[in-house]
Symmetry: C2
Subunit: 397 residues, 2 copies
C-alpha cells in the first residue's frame, strides 16, 4: 500500500502500520489519532465520528473487531487516494507539535513471566539452591495481577520508590529509597472486546478480543521485591509505576510478523494448544541513549493467545482496556536480556557504558528507552514506537 | 440520635449507621441510596443532587471527606426532623422492593493477609516443613493485587471454576473443575479520595481517603491456587470471583467500634506506627443458613490504616473506587476461622452440619453468607449487612 502523505524513507510508520494513540494539539483537548509518518491524523475530524473525540481509545476498542477492520480500511482509503487530500490535510498535525498521553484507560493489568530465559535467570539468582524453574512453569503461563492505577504514559518521570528491604545477614528490614531500581522490557497486549464471566476465550479467538500491542517498562525495585514477594508475589516492588508506549499497534499491522511459536515440551493441556500468535518483534533497550540489549520477542515460550486463554479458563472475564504484558523479554545470550538484574547478574557483573562509566542498577537521572520493530509487508518495517522514562531522586524521607 | 422512620427494634440499620448503596426501584435505573431500617432513601431525590443519580458511588466518593460529613449530617437531619417527612416519605422504598447492585466501580483491588491466625494456619498446612510465617510477615502487611473486573455484587451466582491442579504424587497437572472450592471471610475498605503519585498516605490520614467498609467473600479454588502460586502469588485460584456486600458503611458509623489495635512485636518501621483504626467487628459465616464460624475482626494483626500507608509508601497512588481487603479473618479457635481450608484443616477434619451431612470444601448448590455487626453508640448495633453467593456447577468442559 502507498500513501500520498510524505513518509520519510525507512520509516516504520507507513500505511501498513497505522497505530492508534491519544494526543492533544496545542491548547486543545485530547482525542484519538492515527500515526502516519511523522504526522498524526485526527480521526474524529477525518471520519466525522465522535467516538474518536474521546480522551481514550476505550470507546472505539469496545466496538469490536469487525469495526476495527472497517476503520482501518477507511483510514487506508483516506491516506491512499489523493481525492481525500484536502480533507485529510486539515486533520493532520506533526507529531512533534502535539502532546501524547496514555492511549487507553487501563482496566485490569496482568503481568506474565513467559520468557524461559528470564525465568531461568531469575530462578538461578533468587533461589540458587533450587531448580531454576518451579514445577508449574512449563505447564501454564505464570502470571499475576499488577496495579493498573499506576500505569503511566511514556515520558512520565519515575521517582525512585522507597520501601522495606533486608540487607544480607540482617534479621530486621531497613527502610529507604531502593538501591536496586531496574527495568523490565516487555510487550503488552490490549483487550478491546470484553468477554463474559464463565465464558473462557479459546486460543483461536484471540484476535476477536485483543486490539493491539504496546511496549511496557515494568519498573522494578529488586530489593523491595526480594523481601516482600513470599508467599503472595510481587507488590510494592512493582506497583509504583509501569510505563507504556503511546502507540497501540493493531494486530492487523503485525500479520507479517507472525511466526511459528517455539516448541513447548511437555505439550501443554488442550486449552493451551494452538493459537498461533508468536510475533517476531525485536526490542531495543537504551540506557542514556546507548543500546544495552536487543531482546528477541520471537523467543518467548508462551504466546499472548495462550496467556489470554489461561487468564479466562477459570471463568474470569476480560474488559475493554485490560492490559496483559509478556513479562521480561530475554533471549539466550547476555546482549538479549531485558532487565539490569540479568544484564549485570544481580549487580555482580556491571555493565560498562561507552563513556567508561558502569551500571549495576539505575542511578538518578538515568533515562531508559525501550523501542521495538517488526517485519512489515515486503521489505517494510513496522515501528512500535518507544516507551521512555527518567529516574528522579527519591522524595525526602 | 432518633428518627421518625419506622426502624424495627434491634435493627442495626438505625440512624447511627446510614450505609450507602446503589439500588434500582422497579423499572427504574440504578441510583445511590442510604439504608434506614428496612427502607432505602433515594438521595438524588431527597437532597436534590444529581451526583446521587449515578449508577455508582464513585462520583460522590470522589468529592472528599468534608463533603461526606456534610451529606451525612443532611441525611440525619432529614430523617430526624418530622418537618421533612412528606419530602422524605416520597423518596423511601422498601429494601425488599428494590434490586441492589455493585455499590461502586472497583478501580484497583488489593487483598491483604493480615490475620496472624490465618497466616499461621495456612503456613502450617501448605509448608509443613517450614516456619509457618515467612520472615517478612511481622514487618509489613503482606498483600497482592487481585482482579477488579470480577468483583461482583452479593447474590451473583458463583460458577465452579475450572483450572489446572496437580494431584499428590503426580508429575503432570490435571485439568477440570476445582475440587477444593472455598470461601474467605474478609472486610474490605473502599477508597473515596484519591492520592497523588509519590505522595504516600500516612497512617493518620486514613480517614481522609477511606470512605467506608464492605464485607468480602474472596472465593478461592485451593487446588488451583496451590499449583500456580509459586513464585508470583495467587492468580486463577482467586480471579474468577470476589463478592462484596451491597452496603458501604461509612467510617463515621464505626466510631464506637474503634478499639486498641493488637500489640505488634517487633514494633514496625516508623511509617507503619500509629493509625489507630482497629475495629471491633464480629463476622458470621453461614453455610446453607447454619452458622459455621464467627471470625473476630478485632484480632487482626495489621490495621487498614497500616495497609493504606504501606500500599502508598513506594509512591503508588490510590484512586476513587480502590478496594483493599483485610485477608481472611480468623481468630484463635476453630469456631472463629474464616475459611473452610482452616475450618476443616485442609479437608482432613470435615465440618459436621446440623442435618448430619459433612463438608470439606463447597459443593454445588451450597449457599454461603458472610454477615457482620459492630457496636454502635450506647447499646446500639451497626449492621454491615451481608454478602452471599450460591455455587453453580462448572460449565461443561
Amino acid at each position: 500500500m502507498t500513501t500520498w502523505v510524505a513518509v520519510p524513507a525507512g520509516s516504520g510508520f507507513g500505511v501498513d502500520n497505522l497505530p492508534y494513540g491519544v494526543y492533544s494539539p496545542p491548547g486543545a483537548p485530547p482525542r484519538v489519532g492515527v500515526r502516519i509518518g511523522n504526522h498524526v491524523l485526527d480521526l474524529a475530524a477525518a471520519l466525522d465520528d465522535p467516538v474518536f473525540a474521546a480522551p481514550t481509545l476505550n470507546p472505539f476498542m469496545a466496538q469490536g473487531s469487525r469495526r476495527w477492520r472497517t476503520v482501518r480500511e477507511q483510514v487506508v482509503e483516506l491516506l491512499s487516494d489523493e481525492r481525500h487530500r484536502a480533507r485529510v490535510d486539515a486533520a493532520l498535525s506533526p507529531v512533534a507539535a502535539v502532546v501524547l498521553s496514555l492511549p487507553f484507560a487501563v482496566a485490569d493489568f496482568v503481568d506474565y513471566y513467559s520468557s524461559l530465559h528470564h525465568a531461568c535467570n531469575v530462578g538461578r539468582m533468587f533461589r540458587p539452591d533450587e531448580e531454576p524453574l518451579k514445577p508449574n512453569w512449563r505447564h501454564l503461563p505464570v502470571g499475576y495481577h499488577g496495579r493498573s492505577g499506576t500505569v503511566v504514559a511514556s515520558g512520565t518521570p519515575i521517582v525512585r520508590p522507597a520501601g522495606q528491604w533486608r540487607a544480607p545477614g540482617d534479621d530486621a528490614p531497613s527502610f529507604g529509597p531502593t538501591r536496586r531500581l531496574d527495568i523490565e522490557a516487555e510487550v503488552g497486549f490490549v483487550v478491546g472486546s470484553p468477554s463474559r464471566m464463565s465464558q473462557p476465550v479459546p486460543v483461536d479467538r484471540f484476535a476477536e478480543h485483543v486490539f493491539g500491542v504496546v511496549l511496557c517498562n515494568d519498573w522494578s525495585a529488586r530489593d523491595i521485591q526480594a523481601w516482600e514477594y513470599v508467599p503472595l508475589g510481587p507488590y510494592l516492588g512493582k506497583s509504583f509505576a509501569t510505563s507504556i508506549s503511546p502507540w497501540v499497534v493493531p494486530l492487523a499491522a503485525l500479520d507479517a510478523a507472525r511466526i511459528r511459536p517455539v516448541a513447548q515440551d511437555p505439550e501443554p493441556l488442550p486449552y493451551l494448544r494452538g493459537g498461533d500468535w508468536a510475533l517476531d518483534l525485536t526490542l531495543e533497550v537504551r540506557l542514556n541513549g546507548e543500546v544495552v540489549s536487543r531482546p528477541p520477542f520471537a523467543d518467548m515460550y508462551w504466546t499472548a493467545a495462550q496467556q489470554l486463554a489461561h487468564m479466562t479458563v477459570n471463568g474470569a472475564s476480560v474488559r475493554t482496556g485490560d492490559l496483559f504484558a509478556s513479562g521480561t523479554v530475554s533471549g539466550a545470550v547476555r546482549e538479549q536480556r531485558g532487565s539490569l538484574l540479568e544484564l549485570t547478574w544481580n549487580g555482580t557483573d556491571p555493565l560498562v557504558l561507552a563513556d567508561g562509566s558502569t551500571r549495576t542498577f539505575l542511578e538518578d537521572g538515568d533515562m531508559v528507552t525501550i523501542a521495538a520493530t517488526a517485519p512489515g509487508a515486503g521489505a517494510g518495517l513496522i515501528d512500535l514506537g518507544d516507551v521512555t522514562g527518567t529516574i528522579k531522586p527519591a522524595r525526602p524521607i
